[in-house]
């Protein structure tokens, strides 16, 4: 179980709760002149990856390592503007049914082979569409190399510009070398353990259970970068050990809540460390509650709405997450600057109202209880354990008997997404700013895929919702997309197949002399070529 204690009581959390800026925002504005050299030693708040690169995704750990070696066509900055990486331009045709991608010249793979349009065509047709971004690129019908540095992607429908650029800048958009993968099994390719990319870092050595050492790629297309000579990513399973490593000077930077919350405050007090919640705009996390629409009681929308009134989300944010979370107002996190709306049905904490609504829904108290439900709290985060225990008490306060189960990771996945064996489930979801398909697939009919995790497990299926999401996926007018996104959020909040209990904050901790970090919307998944050491 990944400890998320480090989400709980940090200074960062207190500061966020109080509306104060984190000390970390002084982490190094990109104004000072960068210095070359040094070894940047990094970690994250989780475990070692199973492989340095996992083609279909593989979770945060392989994502963290692979993105230092492999690059994407674009990146998204913290102001939600797309910036060029391997592509210099991505331009839609007038009908938005095709896009022309101009590639950066003079880019080479780590093994010396040139990066060309053929690589991008291979990725689009043989990697992104069938493996990493199937749902997002279901409209992709073709990819052709117009010339060695130009690619044309064609679609069978209109594709919004922000949507496509999000895919190209997102987790599924890494570009792998055609010459090492073409004609070979993607999932078991030896290059997955020692990836060859175009990125600023070349893998030198991976010692399983300890670290991966990367060295500067001298022929990197962005001359002068990366600034550091070496990047070492180390893994400690124990957050307290990571704290000790920071203090002993053996760690420079840690992403995604690397150390226990109280330690952040203590380390910051020494003035040698800073922390920030910046750099996670395109990878927001929520703690979600899901109601199983296949079960007699929870398929009743009135029951779902009533139960939401029994849950005190302020308490969850303040006590369970120690302030490092925000009470959610709907399914989409409030950090989503582009699509989030607060203008959705709200369910304020009111036990009496919850009881009245349950009475009205046809479930009056019979003795001490109204009905019994099974609650599965996915056991992969420590907070989910507490959340499950709290929810049991909260629901029992309105006369609902709760059979609580907090299984381990594999069992949770099977019960929630494989067997649909729950009435109410507590899970976690993370996704980018773009809503389609990461957020929408929890409520669309095509999101129901038995055994596929982090999809529609609640069974919600509504043709109106499917049409709404289809429009959101194909409408090319940004203003209309925003309106559709609002309608989407309002429908989800009213029907409540799933919603967020809290929006979770993620924190990066770094030594004060680590400069220019956290300047992308998904810092953990960026190449870190611009990070430098002020020593």
């Amino acid at each position: 179980m990944i400890s998320r204690r480090h989400f709980l009581t940090t200074t960062a959390g207190v500061a966020v709760a109080a509306g104060l800026p984190l000390s970390a925002f002084a982490q190094g504005a990109a104004t000072a002149t960068p210095k070359r050299g040094g070894t940047l030693t990094a970690t994250w708040g989780g475990f070692e990856p199973q492989a340095l690169f996992v083609p279909p995704g593989g979770g945060s750990s392989p994502y963290f390592t692979s993105t230092k070696v492999l690059e994407r066509l674009l990146r998204l900055d913290t102001s939600l503007n797309f910036q060029p990486v391997l592509a210099t331009e991505v331009t839609p045709a007038a009908d938005f049914k095709s896009y022309t991608i101009k590639l950066r010249p003079n880019v080479t793979w780590h093994d010396g082979k040139p990066f060309t349009a053929d690589d991008v065509v291979y990725n689009a047709l043989s990697y992104w569409k069938p493996v990493s971004a199937g749902l997002a690129l279901k409209a992709l019908t073709g990819a052709e190399a117009v010339d060695p540095l130009t690619v044309k992607l064609t679609f069978n429908t209109t594709v919004p510009e922000f949507f496509l650029k999000s895919v190209l800048a997102g987790k599924a958009g890494l570009v792998i070398p055609k010459h090492l993968y073409d004609g070979k099994e993607l999932l078991t390719n030896p290059a997955n353990n020692l990836p060859v990319g175009t990125g600023p870092w070349k893998v030198k050595e991976w010692v399983r259970g300890s670290h991966v050492e990367m060295e500067r790629f001298d022929k990197y297309w962005d001359a002068g970068k990366p600034y550091a000579d070496r990047l070492v990513i180390r893994w400690w399973r124990d957050p307290a050990s990571r704290s000790a490593a920071f203090e002993a000077g053996q760690l420079d930077i840690g992403c995604f809540n690397p150390i226990p919350a109280p330690d952040i405050k203590r380390l910051e007090a020494t003035k040698k460390f800073v922390s920030t919640t910046k750099g996670y705009e395109n990878s927001a996390w929520i703690a979600s509650i899901e109601f199983n629409g296949r079960r007699d009681i929870t398929k009743n929308v009135a029951v779902r709405q009533a139960l939401m009134h029994a849950i005190d989300r302020e308490f969850i944010a303040d006590t369970i997450y120690f302030g490092l979370a925000k009470p959610a107002t709907g399914f989409i996190p409030s950090s989503n600057a582009l699509f989030y709306t607060k203008d959705v049905e709200q369910y304020p904490f009111d036990v009496e109202l919850a009881a009245k609504k349950l009475d009205a829904a046809g479930y009056p108290l019979k003795g001490k209880t109204r009905f019994k439900i099974s609650l599965v709290a996915a056991g992969w985060f420590e907070e989910n354990v507490k959340l499950g225990q709290y929810l049991k008490q909260a629901l029992e306060d309105v006369g609902v008997e709760v059979d609580l189960a907090i299984p381990d990771r594999a069992t949770s996945l099977k019960r929630i997404y494989g067997d649909y064996d729950y009435d109410i489930a507590i899970s976690n979801n993370s996704g980018p700013v773009e809503l389609v398909p990461y957020w929408t697939q929890f409520v669309t009919t095509d999101g129901i895929v038995k055994g596929a995790a982090f999809r529609n497990a609640n069974g919600f299926s509504d043709p109106k919702m499917d049409t709404l999401v289809e429009n959101l996926a194909t409408n090319t007018d940004p203003a209309k997309r925003k309106a559709l996104a609002v309608e989407f959020q309002q429908t989800v909040a009213k029907q409540l197949p799933i919603t967020a209990l809290v929006d979770i904050n993620s924190v990066t901790v770094a030594r004060s002399d680590v400069r220019d970090h956290s300047q992308d919307a998904d810092f953990m998944g960026e190449s870190w070529s611009r990070v430098w050491l002020d020593r």
């Binding site: 279909p56 030896p190 353990n193 070496r230 400690w236 399973r237 000077g249 594999a410 995790a453 982090f454």
Partner: protein, 322 residues
Amino acid sequence: MRRILLRRFAQIIPLILGVIVLNFALIQMSPGSFLDVMTAEQQVSDPAMIERMRVLYGMDKPVVVQLLKYIWSVMTLDFGYSYRQNETVLAVIGQALPATVILMLASIAIALLIGVLAGVIAAVKVNTIWDNLISVGAVFFFAAPTFWLGIMLMIVFSVRLGWLPVGGMRDIGVDHGVFGDALDVMRHLALPALSLGLFYAAMYTRVMRASMLEVFRHDFVRTARAKGLSGAQVVLRHVFRNALLPVVTLLGLQLGTVLGGSVVIETVFSWPGIGSLMLDSVMSRNYPVVLGVLVLSSLIVAVANALVDIAYFRLDPRIRAR
């Protein structure tokens, strides 16, 4: 002795078979499968892709067929393929095993050295301040959780004093030469080995002390003293050797638990051994690796116990006489 050893090694075959069948059954009975974890981690939602992975992992075949196939593979020294790590199981274990063996041997050496020495002193100085201090120390280190002890040692020796590294097995990216590298590994080994070793040292201290006091009461010790041997000669030549037998027994039994204990210490010190691999494999239901580790560790324990038998043979003439 050859007969004893042959009998011991013959017992290994049914032991390994039992380990495979029992653990295979346990993994199959656990809810959630390797496929569930892999599809979730890899965010696979395409049913065709899920089916492709099921076939790739061999999970499309009946469980009994999977088991028989695995047993046959092990008999041909093929421990299978770990799709999670994208390498053969032997390669995955082979990378982690040396670190765990080094940690095991170092912690056992520390435990024996400190435990036996402290036990002898406590027995010789029974009911003195030395005995009391050693007893309190033994109780403390036995009761202290190894992860806590590890973190405390880390804070003192790595964070405060800056003498030793916080984790890992060697300095990254630095070539110290053969001798220098060995010293570097020892420097990294000190804290994890001490954390693990002190727990077992506490146990050996108590057993050694009790065993020494027991042997002190025997007639041959009185005879030795009557013959005019000095106190040190009595202790070293007569009492110590006889008192060592229970410690040797304990050592054989504990080799298996040291492997288990290393899971925690490897986690704290980021020691690249079997412990973290095993933990990750159990959590992800990666049964080829789980079974591979269990089979190999059973082999290690079985061989170690055979070696303990040999030690018995050397230490106790009565066994030789039988």
